[in-house]
Amino acid sequence: MGPLMDAAFCAAWLEAAALAVAADRERLTDLDAAIGDADHGANLDRGFSEVRQALAAGGPGQPLAVAGVTLIRKVGGASGPLYGSLLRAMGKALGESFTLAGFAAAFQAGVDEVARLGKAVEGDKTMLDALGPAARAVAGAVRDGAEPRAAFERAAEAAREGALATVPLVARKGRASYLGERSAGHEDPGAASSALIVGALVTADGEA
């Protein structure tokens, strides 16, 4: 079963994700400039700033659910509703305290929600190419009886590899799909930001 985690871990994850997005804002926007419209870093940074404000306001609700609703309501674009739905689905599934197995199931539920809303599958050159492998890595770690720290490290690694594996792909969904064959040769900005956010799980676990 592993140790219990709680809502404070979720808040720490969101804080770490916000810092990671802010730090890599320019890189995300540059990736987006190559095959999109050059605003992914700016939009996501704006969204996570709103998330930090919403959490600092200290209202009720699971932090991931609060963050999800905030991203859906404040960010716009595709990344707002998609990341928002990921986090909201996770928050709804997790509650106040949970095991690593519970986290793995919630993560997969969130990823499924992203796929449903975005009408995308892995291999379309989207954030799912990082999120899908990451969710499977956490589930695999649970089966192996791993501690949360090891599970999150495996998830971060899987997400990074998944993001890099988008480089040769031709985009079938999202704004990069308009470029057709020219979208190949570039890392997908959504997959890159997903890898950052999953990577923040490791940071959050180190602090919790």
Partner: protein
């Protein structure tokens, strides 16, 4: 890159303040642009929206004969559901509301979420996807909505003004989209206020073929050429997808940074192309209507008219961006 802004984060809010101050016919509240006169009982309401940076689309088309409300997002970023819900509820005159949505993942997601969450209003939607530069298939995001958005907003707006019911307004809006095709060519990239530098580098002797309206690169690069040849590339792409015959509505649209004199040069070539195919430019529009910030270049949008659509195009319209007949 020099910009006439106060700060990158305030661009949309500051521009909306200016629109409200310049046009007493508009009312701006919580990032939604409304007709100041409010909804009319029994009239279908028209709501559109999308990222900012395409002005006058969409807010410049709010007024008699076109939209009831526009929801501007951040630059090149779709609006959020809260804006769309508020607009939908405010413009309902009891006959329901049509959402006019350009086919981009962000726009469709946010409009779908808003339609699901809007209570007590009958909502229909039309997706605009006229850009032939994008290869369409079952497995992709599909074609982008570009210039035909103006045609849909104008003709559906005229029909709504005449008191047609929601189902009919939605049907005609979809028909206008189905009869319309666009293709765009860029001479330069554009510079978003947030990035402060051009989205892509384009050498002086090259053009981007098949661009959208967000400064994203096109499908391929080609050597720069005289207007006649560029117009032919665009019209070949349109004609290949929608054979040109009969009476056409043709828009030569500037991307924001192109002088009108050059757009007229392009229009002359487009008109000659249409004539050579045995079709006729029955109605036309030349100017900056569906723009991409400061991008230089043009798009051409063609709609195959019938008598009903011609009447709807000719019907009176009074908005900041388009006005005639009233």
């Amino acid at each position: 890159m020099k910009k006439l802004i106060n700060s990158p984060g305030e661009v949309v809010g500051d521009a909306l303040k200016g629109m409200a101050a310049a046009h007493p016919s508009l009312r701006v509240a919580d990032r939604v642009v409304y007709r100041a006169a409010g909804p009319r009982a029994g009239k279908v309401g028209l709501v559109s929206g999308g990222g900012s940076g395409h002005e006058p689309l969409h807010a410049g088309f709010v007024g008699y004969g076109m939209l009831d409300a526009a929801c501007p997002g951040e630059v090149f970023t779709s609006p959020v559901p809260d804006q769309i819900i508020a607009a939908t509820q405010a413009v309902d005159g009891g006959a329901g509301v049509l959402h006019i949505v350009k086919n981009y993942t962000g726009d469709t997601l946010n409009f779908e979420l808003a339609a699901d969450l809007t209570e007590g209003v009958e909502v229909a939607g039309v997706l605009v996807d006229d850009d032939v530069a994008v290869q369409d298939s079952l497995y992709t995001a599909g074609r982008r909505g570009t210039g035909a958005t103006l045609f849909v907003e104008k003709m559906a707006g005229a029909l709504a003004e005449q008191g047609a019911p929601l189902a009919q307004v939605a049907r005609v809006a979809a028909e206008v989209d189905g009869r319309s095709r666009s293709f765009g060519i860029a001479l330069t990239s554009c510079t978003t206020p947030a990035a402060g530098k051009p989205t892509f580098d384009l050498p002086d002797d090259q053009v981007e073929l098949g661009i959208g309206i967000h400064g994203e690169p096109g499908r391929r690069r080609a050597p720069h050429a005289p207007a006649r040849e560029l117009a032919e590339v665009a019209m070949d792409a349109v004609h290949h997808d929608l054979p040109l015959y009969g009476d056409l509505l043709v828009m030569v649209n500037g991307m924001g940074g192109t002088p009108l004199i050059e757009l007229y040069i392009v229009f002359a070539e487009v008109e000659a192309y249409v004539r050579a195919k045995g079709a006729r430019v029955a109605r036309s529009l030349v100017g900056n209507y569906v723009t991409s910030l400061d991008m230089q270049g043009f798009s051409v949008t063609v709609c195959r008219l019938d008598d009903e659509l011609t009447r709807l195009w000719d019907a009176p319209v009074e908005t900041p961006g388009l006005r005639w007949g009233r």
